[in-house]
């Protein structure tokens, strides 16, 4: 075929395609008419053929570039990820997330160890020698703890309570979820960053707990405050740490994959762990913001808190255990 005849013949299709593309690009995916889609895919295929023809006959860089451009745009339009439904989020939280955690139980236990062992050691050391706690976390932090838990939090439900707690809930989201995501992200340094964050948080939190135990007037206030949201917060921190460790595992132990492929393979799952942990931390922030400091009898908090712990453990170990049908399996 003659080059000019080819262009003359095909150009109308190219223009139709261009107009169609620029119209579809600006309109929402679900609003495309079936006719448009049929036209687009037909034209796209024919332009792919044109491109390969021009490539094989070397009919000039500019023509090739132009068609390459058309193909790339159409490719971007046609091959997109399927639209996601809200169902997906629910399915993930109800089944996928606990299932994934159980699948990655090894990383979870490792993260738990990295957090729990320094936590327990810190608690014991801090309770027996408060001066050591002062050395590790600093005088100012301990003074803050003393001030915060030395008295009961609020007298009643007034605007002061509502105002301060709303703002604190925002702070817990910003701070805690941020730390959890960062702990996950730093797992990409072969897991070392995650391990460091887990260890240092374990020691700090342990030392403060130990200090509080050594001061009897703080103990009751402190534990009744932390028990409820701790169920979500502490588990979520460990889970996001597990996510970071999965990422590190992908880099360190690729098995029979290439290191890059192994990283990609582990990446998706590790991210899901971190996102699930983020949701749990959001719940924790609401509880810590509004329920934990309520001016009610500590006994109620202990009961609710223990129930929360049991619920979280049951959720993580049992949810999504029903028989998996083929459509449901990931």
């Amino acid at each position: 075929m003659n080059r000019e005849r080819f262009i003359k013949q095909r150009r109308s299709d190219w223009q139709t395609y261009e107009t169609l593309l620029s119209r579809l690009k600006t309109s929402w995916f679900s609003k495309w008419s079936s006719r448009d889609i049929a036209d687009l895919s037909r034209l796209y295929r024919s332009i792919c053929y044109d491109l390969s023809l021009v490539q094989s006959r070397e009919w000039g860089q500019r023509l090739e570039q132009y068609l390459n451009d058309l193909v790339a745009q159409g490719h971007n339009c046609l091959y997109r990820s399927p639209p996601q439904s809200p169902d997906l989020v629910w399915n993930f939280l109800a089944r996928g997330f606990p299932r994934l955690l159980r699948k990655r139980i090894g990383s979870f236990l490792l993260a738990l160890g990295l957090f729990l062992i320094p936590f327990l050691a810190g608690t014991i050391a801090g309770a027996m020698r408060p001066d050591l706690a002062e050395l590790v976390v600093g005088r100012e932090s301990l003074d803050q703890v003393r001030e915060a838990y030395g008295k009961s939090f609020y007298e009643g439900f007034d605007t002061e309570f509502a105002g301060q707690r709303t703002s604190m809930a925002g702070f817990y989201v910003f701070n805690n979820v941020g730390i959890a995501f960062k702990a996950y992200s730093l797992g990409s340094f072969l897991g070392i960053g995650t391990a460091f964050i887990l260890l240092s948080n374990g020691i700090t939190i342990g030392m403060i707990t130990g200090y509080v135990i050594s001061e009897p007037d703080l103990t009751n206030n402190f534990f009744s405050f932390v028990i409820t949201h701790g169920a979500f917060e502490l588990t979520a921190i460990v889970i996001s740490g597990a996510g970071g460790l999965v990422l590190g595992q992908g880099m360190l132990f690729p098995g029979n994959m290439s290191r890059g492929a192994s990283l990609r393979h582990h990446g998706q799952e590790s991210l899901q762990l971190a996102l699930g942990a983020g949701v749990m931390l959001g719940i924790a922030a609401l509880i810590e913001g509004f329920f934990s400091p309520m001016p009610i009898h500590p006994m109620i908090k202990y009961v609710v808190g223990s129930t929360m712990w049991i619920l979280v453990i049951l959720y993580l170990s049992l949810a999504g255990r029903e028989v998996v049908t083929t459509e449901e399996s990931p």
């Binding site: 223009q15 006959r57 570039q65």
Partner: protein, 351 residues
């Protein structure tokens, strides 16, 4: 993928579509990505400043106002930290405002648009890539990762199988600078033949592409091979140098005759319609519907004037479906130039 050569000298990546066609992406380097990051950063800083302003204003309204706006402010900070890149890229097909300004886009390495999880994942790992970040992110980790990767992927890109591509369109259009200040060849100078195939012109252009840094003398050396055989084909004779010349002046001017000749060839045979093409694309970008309708009604072709008279505001849908070869201006100059030849002809005249 199979056609990807091992040793890569430029930043183009070939992706094979399910239709079996290869097309190329230009990978964006750390420079452009750095600039787009800075733009995004400034935008975020502006939003934070605005949020501070609003929350101090509402702090006047007692405990409740303070509480709600403290909450709003902190949530804004959190969303900017972890949601800005993730959500923009997830819902804006791989672009943040900074990326859109520089026409960069995140795609998966197989060329398809990124998914929600991929967008979130690569942006979460930004926290690792931007280390060390004491006051301002230095991106040392990210830059090292980028430079050691064939597709310029930072850690987040590697873990989630994405790459950042440069969609700037004019990366191969003809640079007007090459032919500036050069005289075109005249017919009289080329007695044998007055035609150079498009392929050869493309080769010459590659030699002058601005991203290929070649010293002038080296370029002259490369140009010589092509120039000599082209001269033979066109029958071009270098005009005899002036009889009397000062040897010092000769060296100062350093004529680089072969380079000059190739530039003259480009000037003569490339029918440069760059500006027209740009204008056409801009039209397409801004208002397709209007342009389509206007060109429809203003066309002088008899077959079309009938329809355009009847319904001035014909919908684009109808216009597209009714578009065929008669209704569209078949001026092909913007792509072909005036010179064309058949496939077989080109092969035989292959340099």
């Amino acid at each position: 993928m199979a056609t990807q050569p091992k040793a890569q000298v430029d930043t183009r990546v070939v992706v094979e579509t399910p239709e079996g066609v290869d097309f190329r992406f230009v990978i964006a380097g750390p420079g452009k990505r750095g600039i787009s990051f800075l733009i995004d950063w400034l935008l975020k800083a502006t939003v934070v400043g605005f949020a501070i302003f609003i929350s101090t204003f509402f702090a006047l309204f007692g405990d409740l106002g303070q509480g709600f706006f403290g909450f709003g402010f902190l949530i804004t900070l959190f969303l900017l930290d972890w949601g800005y890149g993730s959500l923009f890229e997830a819902f804006w097909n791989g672009q943040t405002p900074g990326k859109r300004l520089l026409s960069l886009r995140v795609v998966r390495t197989n060329g398809t648009p990124i998914t929600f999880l991929t967008a979130v994942g690569r942006n979460f790992l930004l926290a690792a890539d931007q280390q060390p970040a004491i006051i301002f992110p230095l991106f040392t980790v990210g830059i090292i990762a980028t430079l050691t990767s064939r597709r310029m992927q930072r850690l987040g890109d590697r873990a989630f199988d994405t790459m950042v591509v440069d969609e700037t369109r004019d990366w191969i259009t003809r640079s007007p600078g090459i032919t500036q200040g050069v005289e075109a060849l005249t017919r009289a100078e080329c007695p044998r033949r007055f035609h150079v195939p498009e392929r050869t012109l493309a080769v010459i252009e590659r030699l002058f592409e601005s991203d290929r840094i070649i010293p002038d003398l080296r370029r002259e050396e490369i140009a010589k091979t092509l120039s000599v055989s082209l001269r033979k084909r066109l029958g071009y004779e270098e005009p005899a140098p002036p009889q009397f010349r000062n040897p010092h002046a000769y060296f100062e001017r350093s004529p680089l005759i072969h380079t000059l000749f190739l530039r003259r060839v480009l000037k003569t045979f490339v029918d440069d319609k760059n500006t027209d093409e740009e204008a056409r694309r801009n039209r397409l970008k801004t208002g397709v519907a209007e342009t389509a309708l206007r060109s429809n009604s203003s066309s002088r072709r008899p077959g079309l004037s009938k329809t355009s008279e009847n319904d001035q505001d014909v919908s684009l849908d109808q216009w597209v479906s009714s578009a065929n070869i008669e209704t569209i201006d078949t001026n092909t100059d913007w792509i072909v130039g005036e010179n064309f030849e058949t496939y077989g002809d080109q092969r035989s005249s292959n340099l």
